[in-house]
């Protein structure tokens, strides 16, 4: 399991939640079926950590450390569906992360999330690893699938469902 193999690595990654089957409530289904709305303003959860959600302070790259790359290789394949997000499944700290969680829940797929706000090294490493400067980042079957926009678009077109089905059967 990912958590076990990572525990001994030089870069402990907080697995924010154990993999588990996403619960689907009638509520999330209804919400996901309705046109996506960008509810970002209302995200302020009591656990919001002010100042943590700041934009990339990363300088001009500098190359991804091999140890980091190896670790990330393991993480993205630790589960069929891995979402790197701001906050946790139950307390997303960003509207875009929230949207992707809602979509995955509505599709009833098990997925693991990692909170990039809890680990700055992970956050910076991922930007380079994925060649993608923002979060959330969705990985399916070890492959970078996209950020929020792409996930929403693929969800609407049915491509996301297809990709997930393939991944689950592989």
């Amino acid at each position: 399991m990912a958590a076990a193999s990572l525990a001994g690595s030089s870069l402990p990654l907080p697995v924010s939640e154990r993999p588990r089957t996403a619960r689907v409530s009638a509520f999330s289904r209804a919400r996901a079926a309705s046109p996506m709305t960008w509810r970002v303003v209302s995200i302020g959860s009591p656990r919001a950590r002010s100042g943590r959600c700041v934009a990339a302070a990363a300088g001009g790259g500098g190359g991804l450390a091999p140890a980091m790359r190896e670790t990330l290789d393991k993480v993205v394949t630790s589960n069929k569906v891995v979402l790197f997000m701001k906050g946790t499944k139950d307390f997303p700290q960003c509207g875009f992360s929230h949207t992707v969680v809602q979509i995955l829940r509505s599709l009833d797929v098990p997925f693991e999330t990692l909170d990039v706000l809890a680990n700055e090294a992970l956050r910076q490493g991922l930007k380079e690893y994925s060649s993608w400067p923002t979060f959330p980042q969705l990985y399916i079957d070890g492959e970078f699938f996209g950020g929020c926009d792409i996930t929403v678009e693929a969800y609407k077109s049915g491509e996301l469902q297809e990709t997930l089905e393939k991944a689950m059967c592989s």
Binding site: V40, V41, G44, C53, A55, A56, G59, P133, T134, C148
Partner: protein, 102 residues
């Protein structure tokens, strides 16, 4: 606040983004909408609350044959400096002229 004086002075982020995207992508359509106000209560947006979130719609033949991920990466790459200087998030719609039916 810095006052803009004449040409070549201080461009807004939106204007810089427009320049960079337009010249590199030779876009047929380039809409840049500042939606920072929607994120005013966001933890990221404190003192420098201006121009942090944008919606961008680009129609460019340079996207021909490119996956969505690649198209978005092209846009992100062009805006790298902005992302490193306070641009927090952009929502991207990237289409080819054919896809947009224009």
């Amino acid at each position: 606040m810095m006052a803009s004086r004449g040409t070549g002075a201080v461009l807004s982020r939106a204007a810089r983004m427009r320049q960079k995207l337009q010249s590199a992508l030779e876009a047929n359509v380039l809409d840049i909408e500042d939606v920072s106000y929607q994120h005013a209560g966001h933890a990221a947006v404190k003192d420098n609350a201006n121009e942090t979130h944008f919606n961008i719609r680009v129609i460019s033949s340079k996207f021909e044959g490119q996956s969505l991920v690649k198209r978005h990466r092209m846009v992100y790459d062009l805006l790298n400096d902005e992302l490193n200087s306070g641009l927090h998030a952009i929502s991207i719609v990237a289409k080819t002229p054919k896809e947009s039916g224009s």
